[in-house]
Amino acid sequence: MIKILVIFLLIPFCIYSQSKSINFHSPENKKKFADLLFCEGDYLRAVEEYESIRDVIKNDTIDIKIMYCYSEIGLFNESNNSLKRISSNSPFRWAGLHLRLKNKLIENPKGLRVFHDMPSPPDMSERRQKLILTSNLFDEEIIYEKEDFLYVFEKGEGQTISYFYDLKKNPPYKSPALAGFFSAVIPGSGKMYVGEWGDGITALLVTGLLAFLAYDNFKANHNTRAWIFTGLGSFFYAGNIYGSIASAQIFNARIDFEFRDGLNLFLQQKNYFMPEYDFCN
């Protein structure tokens, strides 16, 4: 009787200890852990955990999270392939399609207008319109008029987009040919035209000085020295023309770079107009 009593007394301890026993690798626990990693922004580990349970736990939230994780770590092909698992009835289907557009734009920044006519719910349609229109700014030519371009954006973001639109339509480029021509007529003026005033004035002084020294030495019949200064002067003169053309090209490249950089920053701030889901609260 006492022995039976002992066993009965021990059973609650056993139950208690079992409540502390955890199978770390059960699908449910893996999901919980993956959710934590996802919310911590540890997408590489999160996706590894999600991938290991996606065949066991069929869940479109997991699928969209996998897509998102791959996108965040720059594995765009894997991210796009994950879309196939999200069924067309899922509420995340449109977000997945939008995420695919985002991936395409990050991978290859150019217009997404080929997807323009894809049917979608009104809210998603507006988000996609915004992304597609903004993506057009990466192209060589803008195919939309400004009014057609801006109608979909709200006031604040519309102003930014309007600024980018104008910058794209009329970029403040400097003509390399004109810069070269200016420097050929007045040494250094091509550099000044590009905005490099210090270089321009230096080029003007040095070339002018060498030209004067050459002239002065020829006049004084110091022919050897005169030819040395002529050679040096010609070298500076030609170098300055070349330098002015190069400066204008660099200036234009910088305009392009800053434009693309600014546009990318704007898109990142807007999270590429992705719908926002609160997965972490």
Binding site: K3, I11, F13, C14, K20, N29, F33, D216
Partner: protein, 281 residues
């Protein structure tokens, strides 16, 4: 009959004991599994498993150890900011002064590695001023010496190692490195009096000869122009050519000395990394 009764008692009792033991070993198994991954240098997986342990361990028993190992794993992967974050978490969960000291030293070592030596010095000062670590003076001085090494201050490094032991291996090493350095100021001063002499001093003989040659040539032409009463030519050659080569000679002398010193430092750090067997950051 008694045997059967005994058996009815012993089997459930044994089962309860086994089940209880298994439950208690769950967390410790996970801890040792993660630790094993760490020792096998599978740092990515080690971080995942330690994070998993932290997530499920509601007793907080492993908060210090797991966070410390995550920090160490991130450190091995050169993710220094992440490492400091997890060491700070470990620091919040220390059980005794020894653990606190150990964690602080790890944070100091990371600051040394990422060359935020100012922060390392501040932490070392706080440890030094802490009465609990009065018997850890040598260790504090040791890491202070390393901090000075990474600040490129071998003289102070040497005096810190000397305070541990007059014949400390790193004291002798720091002294030998210190004596190998070129004096940047001397190199420049030599070149002021004899163009090219600074380069000779740093062992750059060809550069020294070229520098001397240019200065002799343009110096001769400048003086010659003044002697011939060609004052304007003299000014022009002197200011545009001789002065340019003379100042270039001074800059070169300084540059070579700095470069050589950098090579000496890099060789020393390479030696400490690959050959030195004592504790390193």
């Amino acid at each position: 009959m008694t045997f059967v009764t005994e058996l009815f008692f012993k089997i459930p009792l044994l089962a309860i004991v086994v089940i209880n033991l298994q439950a208690q070993t769950t967390f410790i198994d996970q801890f040792y599994y993660a630790k094993k991954l760490f020792h096998e240098e599978k740092y990515f997986n080690a971080v995942t498993e330690f994070k998993r342990l932290l997530f499920f361990d509601d007793t907080n028993k492993y908060d210090f150890e797991a966070n410390k190992f995550i920090g160490l794993s991130y450190k091995e992967g050169s993710k220094f900011s992440d490492a400091i974050y997890y060491f700070t978490l470990a620091e919040k969960n220390v059980q005794n002064n020894e653990e606190l000291f150990e964690t602080r030293i790890e944070i100091i070592k990371i600051n040394i590695l990422r060359r935020s030596t100012g922060r390392a010095f501040a932490l070392l000062d706080s440890l030094q001023n802490d009465n609990r670590y009065i018997n850890k003076k040598d260790e504090i001085n040791y890491w202070r010496g390393w901090t000075y090494i990474f600040s490129d201050d071998w003289e102070n490094a040497s005096s810190n190692f000397e305070s541990i032991s007059p014949n400390h291996e790193l004291k002798i090493f720091s002294d030998s490195i210190n004596s190998e350095f070129y004096d940047v100021r001397l190199s420049k001063v030599l070149s002021i009096f004899v163009p090219g002499a600074g380069q000779f001093y740093t062992g750059e003989y060809v550069s020294g000869l070229i520098s001397l040659g240019w200065n002799v040539l343009w110096g001769y032409l400048t003086i010659n122009a003044f002697v011939d009463d060609r004052i304007f030519d003299g000014f022009m050659i002197g200011s545009l050519l001789w002065w340019r080569f003379y100042t270039g000679n001074l800059q070169n002398a300084e540059k070579f000395a700095v470069e050589k010193n950098l090579n000496i430092t890099n060789d020393a750090l390479r030696y400490l990394k690959n050959i030195y067997s004592g504790p390193k950051p």
